[in-house]
């Protein structure tokens, strides 16, 4: 008697096909995104040169003379991302070390849901908070005569930083909790203090996961839209290096032009997709990097 199944089960095959189809939806999504981006982007570059796009210092698709240099959008994106990450990394990493190494299990159980709430606040609410609450405080206490604008990159970036804290904190904490207890025990046996264990043993051991959390935070900051659209401003007619001024990031431009009724066959419409391609390219590269880093820490300890 053989152990192979006696009769065919067509039902099982049908179900398997259904499961594969469901999994294929995610692939179709990626293909859809690429297709949606590529065609209008190619048409855009038929009218606007790649060099003009990448090196031009005026982005005025709706004002005459029209100009399609992406540098103003890119500069604001880089500045806002930099400020946001400069806030999110220390706060997120500090929170993660506290939760992983210092907090008692009870405190951790109470604090982690709070971090989840922080992560779940809609970005449009953060934008409202940035524009009306934080900005009025910032303008009230700002020293010197160079007052922040009503909308400005600084206030949007600070709030964006707070928004990203849970991203950095939870992934870093995962990486630190994955460090085996024996490493800590070994360090304590050598008379290390708690801080020495955290900083010299656990942090280096968890470094790839921690760096992955930074990279993911960076990618969130680049792609964040509503906060910068509401609180960061929409001007893009010159390169603005001062974060106290209003300026449009790539995402703010897409959201702002995209919400109107843009005629489909216009250059304005295609410019959304050209900027979108650039944005997708950046975040794709960062995500790929963070996936690789996470995989490395999983391989080491799991």
């Amino acid at each position: 008697m053989s152990l192979r199944r006696g009769r065919r089960r067509p039902g099982e095959r049908v179900i398997e096909a259904l499961l594969v189809a469901a999994a294929a939806v995610s692939v179709a999504t990626t293909i859809g995104i690429v297709v949606a981006l590529v065609e209008p982007t190619v048409e855009f570059f038929a009218e606007v040169g790649v060099v003009e796009f990448l090196t031009g210092d005026r982005w005025t698709p709706t004002l005459d003379p029209r100009s399609y240099g992406v540098l103003p959008l890119l500069t604001s994106t880089v500045i806002s991302t930099f400020i946001a990450v400069a806030i999110a990394i220390p706060l997120g990493l500090g929170s993660a070390i506290y939760l992983a190494e210092y907090a008692s299990p009870r405190t951790r159980r109470a604090l982690k849901p709070l971090l989840e709430v922080l992560a779940g606040i809609p970005t449009v609410v953060y934008g409202f908070f940035a524009l009306f609450a934080l900005n009025s405080v910032l303008r009230g206490i700002w020293p010197g005569s160079d007052q922040p604008d009503f909308q400005n990159i600084l206030v949007a970036s600070i709030v964006m930083g707070i928004m990203i804290v849970p991203t950095v904190a939870s992934l870093s904490e995962d990486a630190m909790t994955a460090v085996p207890e024996s490493l800590r025990a070994g360090a304590y046996a050598l008379a290390s203090s708690k801080m020495q264990v955290a900083v010299r043993v656990v942090l280096p051991a968890a470094v790839s996961g921690i760096v992955a959390s930074f990279v993911l935070g960076l990618s969130r900051a680049i792609g964040e839209t509503m906060i910068v659209t509401i609180a960061g401003g929409l001007s893009s007619d010159h390169i603005e290096l001062n974060p106290l001024r209003a300026a449009a990031t790539m995402t703010a431009f897409i959201a702002n032009i995209g919400q109107g009724d843009v005629p489909v066959d216009s250059l304005d419409y295609r410019s959304i997709f050209a900027v979108g391609s650039l944005l997708f390219g950046f975040t794709f590269a960062l995500n790929a990097l963070s996936i690789r880093l996470v995989r490395r820490f999983r391989e080491v300890y799991e």
Binding site: A23, V25, T29, A36, F128, T251, I272
Partner: protein, 303 residues
């Protein structure tokens, strides 16, 4: 080592000798700095909630859900966000119907059926991880270019729901996979030993055990979808809609987009209504978050 130390009398209680003798300032300071990081983050959360409640207090009454939005300053005091509330229910309900079955089936495939050594399954996994990190505004572009225009669905409830479903699909898949993975292998083996087929094992043994984990992940995914504004402002939601949606092909707006349109208006009346709508949205999200935590703590089995 000095003889004096050698000559020191041995402590009677070894416990005492092992405790530290002096308080280390650096240690305490470090701990406080770490705690401060968390406190700063939570202080912003408290400030944000308090500010929204304070700004929207006057408008937190029945007008909010009984009346329709308006674009006119003269009528703003009588306006509400009813069409955005019904729009959110329509869009999120449809999103759930689309993304939960697809997400759960895809996760079953990846955990129970897929051979991880095959390149296409690895690619599938990488693809899902990457999709989870694609900015939501890019999904707006997908909706605008492919679903609304190329497929001709226009700016409707269905388009919005499809895009939100694709946006949160990776979250559903990743959460469901974790829930399925937590089911012990021995249960599957016992089922197979009794002659069950693969699908019988999955549907009668594995899935019932994984339900709490799947439910928690699904609630969190949907609460992300409820708060999402960026892709929908590109899909026609930024208009003052003065009627409730009556079908999948209906025009719509949703709470976060309605909030966006209100708070960017210059007059304070609009902003107050926007703040009240924010409180409503936050209340809804807190409710869903608590539900997820309750489900996770109450029903999840530990093995």
């Amino acid at each position: 080592m000095t003889p004096a130390v050698l000559a020191a009398p041995a402590p009677s209680d070894p416990e005492v000798a092992l405790t530290r003798r002096r308080v280390r300032v650096g240690e305490t300071l470090f701990r406080l700095v770490l705690l401060a990081c968390l406190v700063v983050a939570f202080a912003f959360l408290a400030w944000l909630i308090a500010f929204a409640v304070y700004r929207g207090w006057d408008r937190l009454d029945a007008r909010l859900w009984q009346n329709m939005p308006t674009g006119r300053v003269s009528r703003i005091e009588g306006a509400g966000v009813q069409s955005a509330i019904t729009g959110t229910l329509w869009v999120i309900g449809t999103t759930a119907l689309i993304c939960l079955p697809i997400g759960i089936l895809a996760a079953i495939y990846l955990e129970e059926y897929a051979d991880n050594e095959r390149w296409y399954n690895r690619l599938l996994e990488l693809n899902i991880q990457n999709l989870a990190g694609v900015p939501s505004i890019i999904f707006g572009i997908l909706g605008l270019g492919v679903i609304a225009r190329a497929l001709g669905l226009g700016f409707t409830v269905l388009t919005a729901a499809l895009i939100l479903a694709l946006l949160v699909l990776p979250i559903v898949i990743i959460a469901t996979r974790e829930a399925i993975r937590a089911v012990p292998q021995s249960i599957r083996q016992a089922s197979y030993a009794l002659g069950a087929t693969r699908w019988q094992t999955v549907s009668r043994q594995v899935l019932p055990i994984a339900v709490p984990g799947i439910a928690t992940g699904s609630i969190l995914a949907l609460s992300r979808a409820i708060g999402e504004a960026a892709p929908l402002i590109m899909l026609g939601a930024v208009t003052y809609i003065t009627f409730n949606p009556d079908g999948l092909d209906s025009a719509y707006t949703v709470l976060p987009v309605q909030i966006y349109s209100l708070v960017i208006e210059a007059q304070a009346g609009f902003q107050r209504l926007g703040a009240a709508a924010i409180v409503l949205l936050l209340g809804l999200l807190l409710l869903m978050n608590s539900l997820a935590i309750v489900v996770r703590n109450r029903f999840q089995k530990r093995w």
